[in-house]
Homo-oligomer: 178 residues x 2
DNA sequence: GTCTATATCAAGATAGAC
DNA sequence: GTCTATCTTGATATAGAC
């Protein structure tokens, strides 16, 4: 009975994931401790281990849900925009800026794919592939461009006053025309 | 007398930086602790604080030196190659793959610019700017592409068997022609 | 420039009772 | 499903002697 849901989580486990994600988004990755998560739920840290075997499994649950969410956002953006690559680029940046800590958790380290829900990683990738004219190499290059732009903006690497919009446009243009 | 060298470091401080960098490159960022650094030098951790005010200052010294090194590599690559953007892309990837942990320390978080040696961050940027035909937006976009490619490869995000070379070529081509 | 001793803090995780 | 009590580990950093 514990895992008939699509995400394989019990209702209580889902509450824990929600609390964890809220802490992550509000205060960043270093704030994401078992104690903090428990505290937010009004319980003690050891109790969490009745629901997840360890912290990594809990993080994987956050990441799985976030991938689904991101893919849905991407799909909608392409549907509603006229130029797929431009629409996707804008949606990519918006997601990263709206959820900086979550975005870094999702992208900035090796993935424990064995702990993720199946197929969850590919869905967003497929949207990019299609927007890039179903050219694998171009899709990967465009993805790297978007990821690089997002990370450089999140880590504050562009010079103060840099026109980040213009750099995005230039990149999108290059991958559309080039 | 302590800071007449170009990097502002005493000889002993430079030895400490070298030990720290070796640990970083061999075992990664979590291994970079004051205890480990001291151990490698045959001393105790508290002694390090006679040479650096805190760990952040020591990290900044590693980063400053690495930026200089990277800039020199980039400059040489452009000089020796015929196509600047391609030469620079290849050098960029080579540097990141040869020094994965160092590269991440340099790029993957906010920079404490106040602790870095002056101008050290701009030198590599200038090389990219020139290779991109002195177009600021294109230079930033190409930089983001390179950074994204490097990070996705380092974090193992491309599917197994993905032709990463081909994706690099596609991106370089787009920024050259597009 | 190095030492010992120590302060301070906080993390993930387990055992076993209720 | 939650609790208390605890283990184990390890980090940065300071004080003060030599």
């Amino acid at each position: 009975m514990a895992s008939s849901a699509p995400d394989g989580l019990t209702p209580r486990a889902r509450e824990i994931v929600a609390a964890a994600r809220a802490i992550l988004e509000e205060d960043g990755l270093e704030a994401l401790t078992m104690r903090r998560i428990a505290e937010r739920l009004g319980i003690r840290a050891p109790s969490l281990y009745k629901h997840f075997p360890d912290k990594e499994a809990l993080e994987a649950a956050i990441i799985s849900a976030a991938f689904e969410e991101q893919a849905a956002v991407f799909e909608r953006a392409v549907e509603e925009g006229d130029e797929p690559l431009a629409a996707l680029g804008a949606a990519y940046r918006r997601f990263a800026l709206a959820h900086p800590h979550l975005y870094r958790l999702m992208t900035d380290r090796e993935l424990r794919r064995d702990l993720l829900a199946a197929g969850v990683e590919d869905r967003a990738g497929l949207t990019i592939y299609r927007a890039a004219g179903e050219d694998t190499d171009r899709a990967r290059a465009a993805w790297a461009f978007a990821h690089g732009m997002a990370m450089l903006e999140l880590t504050n690497r562009f010079p103060p006053g840099a026109d980040i919009d213009a750099a995005w446009h230039e990149g999108i243009r290059a991958f559309r025309d080039g």
